[in-house]
Symmetry: C2
Subunit: 150 residues, 2 copies
């Protein structure tokens, strides 16, 4: 067992603009103008879908050689359904994404069957995929309150 | 019921570097050099944690006024445990994140109890949080294979 701990930090900048940081990397997250943002970045759920797509793509790259699969181009398109009544607190509405769908575009000479079995393998061993399809424990450690300077 | 569909696209650029896109926004995802990447961006799981942190922060901003909560500064720190044996296909290892933990840093004059109830509310209505703690259906629509140009 080789356990690692990944870390990230989200800091409110202004309005609904947030800077997220992991190690030496920063990304700006925002909401479109019609939702009160300044549209300087993806919104959090677009980022969630992007995380899944990036994970699938990277897993494909990691397994391609081992599985003898060659391709010239690889792209994953993702979509996720959200009932906007949910986060607004309306009773009976699902808060989280209801379904995520993805399409893989692959430029390759390999037979369809081999590609399908390759993609199946990626699905099975993709950490973001597994985190989403299974319930994940999310624990609040602490709320640390600081008094503002007077 | 007000359903919307969010979209994203992940394109392999080189090695394990991926460009993710949603609407007019692009982010570079990569792996550290020791994992075969060029470290030009967060990795997918750091992005997943960032998505949750950004969602919690934006939900806080959206609900603060309605709930009469004032603060000067807001930050969420997140960490997630991964057994790296999982994505390498070793039997018995969990593939996805085993646990996500978060700490909220808030600079505010509000009483601790009010802040705790505010954060509880955010947890309940945060779409990324809800997507992670519950099992989410992830469906493969299609694998579209294109023959490479000869």
């Amino acid at each position: 067992m080789a356990k690692i701990t990944l870390k990230s930090k989200a800091t409110l900048v202004e309005k609904v603009r947030v800077e997220v940081e992991a190690r030496n990397h920063k990304v700006t997250i925002d909401e479109p103008i019609r939702l009160g943002g300044t549209d300087l970045g993806m919104n959090p759920l677009e980022l969630l879908l992007s995380s899944l797509g990036a994970c699938q793509t990277i897993m494909a790259q990691s397994y391609a050689e081992k599985m003898g699969v060659k391709y010239q181009h690889l792209q994953v398109e993702l979509e996720g359904d959200l009932d906007t009544d949910g986060y607004q607190g309306k009773p009976g509405a699902q808060v989280g994404l209801e379904e995520i769908r993805y399409t893989i575009y692959i430029e390759s000479d390999e037979p369809q069957e081999k590609l399908e079995s390759f993609i199946k393998h990626i699905e099975t061993y993709c950490p973001a995929f597994d985190t989403l399809v299974n319930p994940t424990k999310v624990v609040q450690k602490e709320i640390i309150v600081k008094q503002p300077a007077k």
